[in-house]
Assembly symmetry: C2
Homo-oligomer: 194 residues x 2
DNA sequence: CAAATTGTACCAAACGGTCGGTTAACACCA
DNA sequence: TGGTGTTAACCGACCGTTTGGTACAATTTG
């Protein structure tokens, strides 16, 4: 049983609660004072735990990355590789539904906002997308080998396109505040899994 | 032959040149002083032509929207509806290739950065995506009627997914600085057009 | 000339970040 | 058990800079 020091708890809480602000307003759009107001942690404490704003942002991305890959694995339910992919698609839709299609995807948001200006952010986000794509591509390859999927399909190409369409769909659903934009993309993607 | 006053020229030039900055660094990431330095226009002149920063941003989006729909129409070359869609996909890829996959799509970038915080921005960007989707869906419907496309396909669903995958693909190509990320998405999309 | 356009000095507010000082928790020893 | 030293944890006033924006005189243009 691990014991968490007071400091570790505070740090973790700031990471979790500041993430909400960044999802809602972006990284540049979230000020240190907003983070202070929202978390209740004082400026001195904040800068005790994080060297600067970038460092805090990076920690938030790391935390979100770990959480996402956990979510990804947990979502892969089913007996066959293809069933697992289908179940993942449902899980993504549910997750966005739960947050009412607001906020979108932290990685997509930050990629577009920061990747050109912050090398480290870009590299971390890229590793999320490549890891995600590779995991799906692996399942699709299994499905192809097992005859669940047409022998002519290219697993990596398909996985890339699925991830791209999901990210685009999340963006459009957020923009239009209309759930069907993401739902439509996902149901169209399901048609490719045959 | 219309005559452009000096003021109109200045205004148009600011819109065009400030857009480059915003594509590179985002809207919040681009300061008024950066715009002044980059365009050479002085602060007084800038605020003579635009009421405030938001107004400038909105004008840039309007200008980009008009340019994009022009690009869209010009790209639809070919004898059949389906050929036109194919030719559009090639044009998008060429366009991103020409800018070396840097900067991505202004609308996608701004959508994620600003749509939640600025109602007007969001509405304009949404109209770009819906116009784009509708145009493609119309062509796909024609293609379906003409027997070029499988009778079972849903034109609107497919068009939405294409736009979503293109936006996602542009984002990933920008992130990875790897052209193949967008190329792969587009070639996968082409497989759906049969 | 009047109107349109531009240059420059200036502003308050907000920004990210620093720093000297205070408090709270735990280990050590008598 | 009670006192003491150490340090992790936290506080908030303050800093220099940059922000978006204004005022207004000077100049160009039609």
């Amino acid at each position: 049983m691990t014991h968490y020091t007071k400091g570790e708890q505070t740090r973790a809480r700031v990471i979790r609660e500041a993430r909400e602000l960044i999802i809602a307003n972006g990284f540049k759009g979230t000020s240190i004072s907003q983070i202070i107001d929202h978390t209740g942690v004082k400026k001195g404490a904040l800068y005790f735990h994080f060297a600067n704003k970038d460092e805090l942002g990076y920690s938030i991305l790391q935390d979100a990355r770990d959480e996402f890959f956990g979510f990804l694995e947990r979502s892969l339910a089913g007996d066959s590789p293809l069933q697992k992919v289908h179940s993942f698609l449902s899980a993504i839709l549910d997750q966005q539904k739960n947050q009412h299609f607001v906020g979108g995807c932290l990685f997509g948001n930050t990629a577009l906002e920061m990747s050109d200006s912050n090398e480290r952010f870009g590299a971390l986000i890229l590793s999320v997308f490549t890891g995600w794509i590779d995991r799906l591509a692996g399942l699709l390859e299994e499905a192809r080998q097992g005859g669940e999927l047409d022998r002519g399909t290219n697993p990596l190409l398909l996985a890339k396109t699925m991830v791209a369409a999901i990210e685009g769909g999340i963006m459009m659903a957020r923009l239009s505040k209309n759930r069907s934009d993401l739902e439509d993309c996902i149901s169209q993607l399901r048609l490719l899994l045959h």
